[in-house]
């Protein structure tokens, strides 16, 4: 003999075994907690509950009572919060969402540097078009009170260099989305292929040089 409960899931009445009820209750509580801070929280919970009702309904068909196995079957399809963990799409915005703003962060800009990229990084951070103004500022500080040089060295040591596309976007305070990343990847690919072709021609000319030198020395000897 087993105690049963009458419950309403997604507007449908179910008769459910006591242990199965406790299990389901725990599951739905966990889901609620998981999505509590998500956008559209109530709707998500409703959707999941409705789907739960549908799955249970399909499953019990000819039986009258929902058992533990039925609940586990439905949970297996919907997934537990542990399953969501790896695939958490509930929060935040997607990679394509243009409203996803990065927090602006201070980086050193390795692409536009004279010494350590501190000034260009600062210029990017404060939205100054041309880093020359920051450089002039540092020069004045260095000449005037002599504080510019230690300040520069300190920042050089403390401020990280921008390395990844994400860093570059954060440096300029641009939103991270696929469009931007694509642009940066594109730039870098061009950069790399330029470097490779330069390297290639460098290497070829060196080899040519070596060959001609060899020929020369051979001729000299003979």
């Amino acid at each position: 003999m087993n105690k049963t409960n009458n419950v309403n899931i997604g507007g449908f009445p179910f008769t459910i075994d006591d242990d199965a009820y406790a299990h389901l209750q725990k599951y739905l509580d966990k889901i609620e907690q998981h999505f509590r801070h998500s956008e559209g929280y109530e709707e998500i919970i409703d959707d999941i509950e409705n789907r739960m009702a549908e799955l249970l309904n399909e499953r019990i068909r000819n039986k009258r009572i929902v058992s533990m196995e039925d609940v586990e079957h439905a949970i297996g399809i919907l997934g537990t919060t542990a399953d969501f963990g790896a695939d958490d799409f509930s929060e935040g915005r997607s990679a394509f969402d243009s409203s996803y703003k990065t927090g602006k962060k201070l980086f050193r800009d390795p692409d536009d540097k004279i010494i350590g990229g501190v000034c260009s990084g600062l210029a990017a951070y404060f939205g100054i078009q041309d880093p020359i103004w920051v450089r002039i500022g540092f020069a004045i500080l260095a000449l005037g009170a002599g504080i510019g040089i230690p300040l520069y060295l300190l920042m050089w040591a403390l401020v990280p260099e921008a390395l990844t596309p994400k860093d570059f976007l954060s440096m300029r305070g641009e939103p991270i989305n696929v469009n931007n990343i694509a642009k940066i990847v594109e730039d870098q690919v061009e950069n790399i292929s330029d470097q490779l072709s330069e390297l290639g021609s460098d290497w070829k000319s060196k080899r040519r040089k070596k060959k001609s030198e060899k020929k020369k020395s051979w001729k000299d000897r003979h």
């Binding site: 999941i48 409705n50 549908e54 399909e58 997934g79 929060e91 990847v185």
Partner: protein, 108 residues
């Protein structure tokens, strides 16, 4: 970043599937499971809700014989043009990646 890319790709797939006609979440999931993009249904609902709240999706209630009424999702006009943009971006990205890997192979 990896999770974000996955999320973006998943969105693209969901919008594409819905663009083929009105779709019920569990049908969408069935298609995504085949591609091993998503494993459990639960991850889908927040995503659909977010896309709907962003004005990209709409839904109609349809009575069901097997349980509560079902939400069938469709693309809004905004969703259709968003999907078009997304596809263009995606193709661009694929091109860039292909190009870069081609360069790497060619220089080995």
């Amino acid at each position: 970043m990896k999770a974000q890319m996955r999320k973006g790709v998943l969105e693209l797939c969901i919008l594409s599937i819905i663009s083929e006609g009105e779709a019920y979440p569990s049908d969408i999931i069935q298609k995504l499971k085949e591609q091993e993009l998503i494993v459990v249904e639960g991850t889908m609902y927040p995503l659909l809700t977010r896309l709907k709240n962003a004005g990209l999706l709409g839904y109609n209630w349809q009575e069901s014989t097997s349980g509560p009424p079902r939400k069938y999702y469709h693309l809004t006009e905004e969703g259709t043009s968003f999907l078009k943009d997304l596809l263009a971006t995606w193709n661009k990205l694929v091109n860039v990646v292909n190009q870069s890997t081609k360069n790497l192979v060619g220089n080995e």
